[in-house]
Amino acid sequence: MSKYTEDDLREELKTKEYEYGFYTDIQSDTFPNGLNEDIVRAISKKKEEPEWMTDWRLEAFRVWKDMTEPEWANVHYKKPDFQGISYYSAPNSKPKYDSIDEVDPELLATFDKLGISLDEQKKLAGVAMDVVVDSVSVATTFKKTLAEQGIIFMSISEAIKEHPELVKKYIGTVVPQKDNFYAALNSAVFSDGSFCYIPKGVKCPMELSTYFRINQAGTGQFERTLVIADEGSYVSYLEGCTAPSRDENQLHAAVVELIALNDAEIKYSTVQNWYPGNAEGKGGVYNFVTKRGLCEKNAKISWTQVETGSAVTWKYPSCVLKGDNSVGEFYSIAVTNNYQQADTGTKMIHLGKNTKSTIISKGISAGKSQNSYRGLVQINSRAENARNFSQCDSLLMGNECGAHTFPYIEAKNKSAKIEHEATTSKIGEDQIFYCNQRGIDTEKAIALIVNGFSKEVLNKLPMEFAVEAQKLLEISLEGSVG
């Protein structure tokens, strides 16, 4: 990774607004707009799926047809026209550029800013790889290491073909097709995604990431991720591209299902930085994601997310604590600037005895943005000695943004212990003054304070991610000091 110094940051802060977006006209294999049973069948056929998968998709489509979009979230946006979208678009294999010199220098600068190595930059920008830096082969070597341990890590399309028994057994068990509007839509039309299976007792030796795979598999707007950690296994999974990725499709409706069997542990980290729209609130990605994990006995699922992008975010990574002694965790930083809107949080459903959950949510709003935390902690009547701790802190910058908290707490067991705290504040003038006195300019001081505010969550991220996330926070809040 390239070195990143204070001088670099100062330089960046001078450049006022950064255009993340880039557009390349590539030839791709695209279906006509609209959605009907034929399109669903065609997607399935295109991906050479077995019949059960086609039926499963059709079932989801039929449910989706009769559903309406949820309106309870505290976000306002123009509803996408679901018949105006093309549901299958795979870029063809031809590289976009022949050498890195052809790539938009602005884009490269962004990559530099994030400290992404040259090889990765090439890959992300869609540059053809020469033999030496071919990360495809790098990925293959990874695959070999993983295969030795019996770990299956591949795209979900491959998994449907190669491991139908596993996919068939687990897909839709945590997020059923009819779970909600977007989950149903995703179930019907998902283009690709990742599949991961960790066998019994195996500790996955490296952090698995969709990062390496994203271009190769050509994942579209409807990703489906399925992670299964068999008994006693451990996996840390990183999702999302840390590079600013301009999604032309405007709508991103992914489904992530995690299954942690007895004594297993899954750590799922996301750094989301989709295109947030420009400073006037035009454009940007609608991010409507359903993420849920199921914990069996003594299992643990930990969600960590850093949300800085998207025009509208609607996302509630949840844990169903089904087994006794299972643990659910949720650590989140959501940053909104300009006209961004985020309605994000978690659900912790306590079903088993001695289940524990922790929720730490940090919301930072700036500009004219709206940032909401929406969470549910539910203790069912058989969940003896369930324990929950929630903390939601909001930081406001300027008086045109809003911070909202909607925590739902439902307890049906007398032995439940639940704590919830929320605070809202702004960056203190005294804090800024302290920094200014010591020669730290205001913008830098704010970055410092924001980092301190988010530390609890940043610490939960794997190292490399944490560094990038920290920088992302700074970039997202650029120019928000009033």
Partner: protein, 437 residues
């Protein structure tokens, strides 16, 4: 015929009986239209997610009391705070009872809504204040449409009302099921101070549904203390809608003590329309059996430099259900707001349920807002400490519960109310501690 249709058809009869030339006539007609359109709230509405009215709406309520009923003071004395001198406004089945009441027009008006609505001398006040704080939700509108009786209290400038005012609604249960819709209007002038105690009590086990609306206006530097004692019997349900508009530097506090009743829903709304206002919302809920208590609060911070303090404690036993839905809105002009909200709950039974949703909506940056919410049990080590010193289990539990709710009780300014509440709590917990706490 369901209750909604019944109410709509009775409205026509009702409206013909009262004076149709008044300002209120139009207000009522608009209100019934809103109710007709919206109907009774259902669980599909976010604000009613945890409270269903279906069961209590099934009863065949008589909407208008058919006859006047008299009560002897000695029979109902225990429902009053009788050990201090107070003004009293007493209603029996929705009708004013002059011989039980003690009203006044001496410098202040402590009298009846029916008088205020019809007599010309109150006309300006009614036009300025009536239905000016209540929201247009379906239940408040229903009450507005049928508003004819209730308490009317007007305190002019610079008056310190020496005696507290008691508003007591009795239902005799002479009809098999009764629906009551009292409407109270309280206007407190600049620099004035008033203390009000409100209670709803049914005297038999026949079902009663009360849909009450109280509008309170606290003008500059006014101080309003309002106490709601809710300890009705197990077939009485209460939907209490209170709207408080505060002007600058006023202090309004509402204490809600919810111990009895089948279903209680408290909609308590504060609107701060001035600077340096303080709003205080406190509540103790101790319920068991199949009781359901829902506190739905709203504090709307509109102007800068205001404060609000909320503290709700709940103890839930047997099959009881508790709901707390507290909302704080801070508008972007309302800089330097301090808003605090705490909701602490104890579940003492496995079948009891508590649903809580403390909600903050903040649009200003220079504010201090926090909310805290806990659900837990009595501290076992504290129990052990007392048990090991010879305090029986029941008493030890009761002591802890007293201690738990003491934060709220300690801010009650009328000692007699505090004593009364203590007695009710002791009764509720089935203990006699032999001393006042």
């Amino acid at each position: 015929m369901d209750l909604k249709e019944k109410l709509l058809s009775s409205f026509l009869v009702f409206e013909n009986q009262v004076d149709i030339d008044t300002y209120v006539h139009d207000v009522r007609n608009d209100a019934i239209k809103i109710f007709e359109e919206k109907g009774f709230p259902t669980k599909k509405e976010e604000a009613w997610k945890y409270t269903s009215l279906n069961k209590i709406l099934k009863e065949d309520y008589s909407v208008f009391p058919q006859q006047e009923n008299a009560l002897e003071y000695k029979d109902i004395k225990k429902y009053f705070i009788y050990d201090i001198d107070t003004y009293k406004i007493v209603f029996i089945d929705g009708k004013y009872s002059s011989h039980l009441s003690q009203t006044t027009h001496d410098g202040i008006d402590v009298c009846l809504m029916s008088a205020a609505l019809t007599k010309p001398k109150y006309r300006i006040l009614i036009e300025n204040y009536f239905n000016k704080a209540a929201t247009k939700d379906s239940l408040s509108s229903l009450n507005t449409a049928f508003s004819s009786e209730g308490a009317y209290i007007h305190i002019p400038k610079n008056k310190l009302v020496e005696k507290p005012i008691q508003i007591v609604h009795f239902s005799t249960g002479n009809e098999s099921a009764t629906m009551l819709q009292p409407r109270n209007l309280i206007v407190v002038g600049e620099n004035s101070h008033v203390q009000i105690i409100e209670r709803h009590q049914s005297l038999t086990n026949n079902p009663v549904l009360t849909n009450s609306v109280t509008e309170i206006f606290a003008n500059k530097r006014a101080i309003v203390d309002y106490y709601k004692v809710q300890n009705d019997n197990s077939n009485a349900s209460l939907i209490d809608n209170t709207f408080i508009k505060q002007k600058q530097e006023s202090v309004a506090s509402v204490h809600t003590f919810a111990f009895g009743g089948k279903l209680i829903r408290n909609n308590l709304n504060f609107y701060q329309q001035g600077e340096r206002i303080d709003s205080i919302l406190k509540g103790v809920t101790i319920i068991g059996e199949k009781q359901h208590v829902d506190h739905n609060t709203l504090v709307h911070h509109i102007e800068p430099n205001c404060e609000s303090h909320q503290d709700y404690k709940g103890i839930f036993g047997e099959n009881a259900t508790g709901v707390f839905n507290g909302k704080i809105i801070v508008e972007k002009e309302a800089q330097k707001t301090n808003a605090f909200q705490a909701n602490n709950n104890i579940l003492v039974s496995d079948k009891a349920t508590i649903n809580t949703k403390p909600q903050l909506e903040i649009f200003a940056d220079d504010v201090k807002c926090s909310h805290g919410c806990t659900i837990g049990q009595l501290d076992e080590s504290a129990m052990f400490y007392m048990r090991s010193r010879g305090i029986p289990e029941k008493e030890a539990k009761a002591l802890l519960m007293y201690a738990f709710s003491n934060n709220v009780l300690s801010s009650v300014k009328i000692p007699e109310i505090k004593q009364r509440i203590n007695k009710i709590i002791a009764n509720k917990l089935g203990v006699n501690l032999g001393f006042d706490l």
